[in-house]
Amino acid sequence: METNIGELKKIAKLIREDIIKTGRDCDVGVHLGGNLTIAEIMAVLFFGVANLDPTNVNWKDRDRIILSKGHGNVALSSAMARRGFFPLAELEKFDTFNSMLSMHIDKHRMPGVEISSGSLGHGLNIAVGAALGARMDHAQWKTYCVISDGELMEGSTWEALMSAGHFKLENLTAIVDRNGFTIEGDTEECMRLEPLAAKFEAFNWFVIEVDGHDIEELINAFEAPSGDHKPKMIIANTVKGRGIPSLEGKASSHFFKIDADEANDALAIIEAEK
């Protein structure tokens, strides 16, 4: 893959800036914590890995990207806008009445998005179906599904995991945003998930664990062959609220409206890193 690491880093920073600005300007707040975790994942998927054509969203051979954690729609919207699916100005209307972009994903309002999502524990099942459909057609396109660690508490997600391993869906890659928090706090206190990698392996997935904020590690993970026709699970270790120092690694970053001063401080730090 011809990928410019530096370019992807820049895009991830732009996505992070878009998230912070949206969190500042929106009506009641956004899921800042769990959007800031996936800035790099979205940058790599939309600008590095996936085969997409924003001018032809119904292109049969496009890769399918499913954001199961639909509350990550600020990061997704930013990535899709910057990839050319719709104007970036739409982000300024985020969560306004009947806007194209909102807290959770509405396929009917958001051009080019594959599926509406928001309720947890749905996306990976949908991704399994897409991957099965591609295989029936002997098609080359791939399915990518980003899930949260919280939705690993939903039984439906484990049904999907079991079936993807059983069906040997090598055309499916899932990325778990392992930020370690649900809305209330530490996932391990809420409902223990570990040992996650061993669980996925036991469900017949090929598992790679990476720093979810490291572009290079993410790209290498996407490129690594899974072998033995296994679906691939990338455990992306991330920091909730990444980019806003006062909130990093805190459950309180889950959903809120950031005030202008704090937003400006965070934006200044990102700017300085450029």
Partner: protein, 320 residues
Amino acid sequence: MKDQNKTQSPLVGLASRKAFGKVIVELADQNMDIVATTADLTDSVQLGGFQEKFPDRFVNFGVAEQNMMGAAAGLTLAGKIPFVCTYAIFSALRACEQMRTDVAYNGLPVKIVSSHGGISFGVAGATHQAIEDIGIYRGIAGMTVLVPADAVETAIIIRAAVKLPGPVYVRLNRITEKTVYTNEFDYQIGKPDLLREGEDILLIATGAQVGEAIDAAILLSGAGINAGVLNISSIKPIDQKAVVEILKKYPAVLTVEQHSVINGLGSAVAEIIAENNLDIRFMRHGLMDIFTTSGPYKDLLQYYQLDPEGIQEVVLRFLD
């Protein structure tokens, strides 16, 4: 039985689910996008023939209905027309949120064909009998809800369902329904079918109860009551205007369904009567806000007064 004056369809006398098993193979032969899925109930939902002929377009998800329903939504992202086939109770309840949010909210062409509707799996009891499914599906925006009366109407309805661009729910049965139609006809979704004209009361039925209602009307004629019978197989949408025109000719109407009287056919008809200010005596007959017991199907029909004799008794009490 409706006299359609032609050589009869080879499907006559089959259970609705068996007719489905034959028609789905025929349709899949013509339409390469059709995919069939089940959750460890291949034979129960009569997909054996499909699996044998199209093994690459058949998916058994194991005992995991939520995954099957969600994956069906995903299959449409690959351009497929998936049939989701399990018992009515499991598609409506276990996989309810996937049906509502993944399939219906996205407006996807998933065809949910459920067998073992109503009390048709009698001995299995309340865990396996579906008496809330119609109400659940009817409340979902964009969902078309079709309940065929017998094998022949099943075939017509499945053909119509494939042509619709959105999601469809079709409720079938385990048992062999009484024959209502002997030949396929020009089916229009939403249109009610007046099977028998009457004067004193109109029996409105759906699914397996259509045949029972016809036999009840015959019994009632012996008791001096001239009962009409209307088949509403399309619970949603309903051609309200057509129903109102028929209702206007009757002083009384009784709905008869193998479903809770809450949220099913009876409720749909009550809405039409109320919103059109019809001056008509009205009563719902079905399962009266209860959990059902278990036993052979025929015994249950009798117990819940859903057989011809029971319906007759309910009518006589109602008109008394």
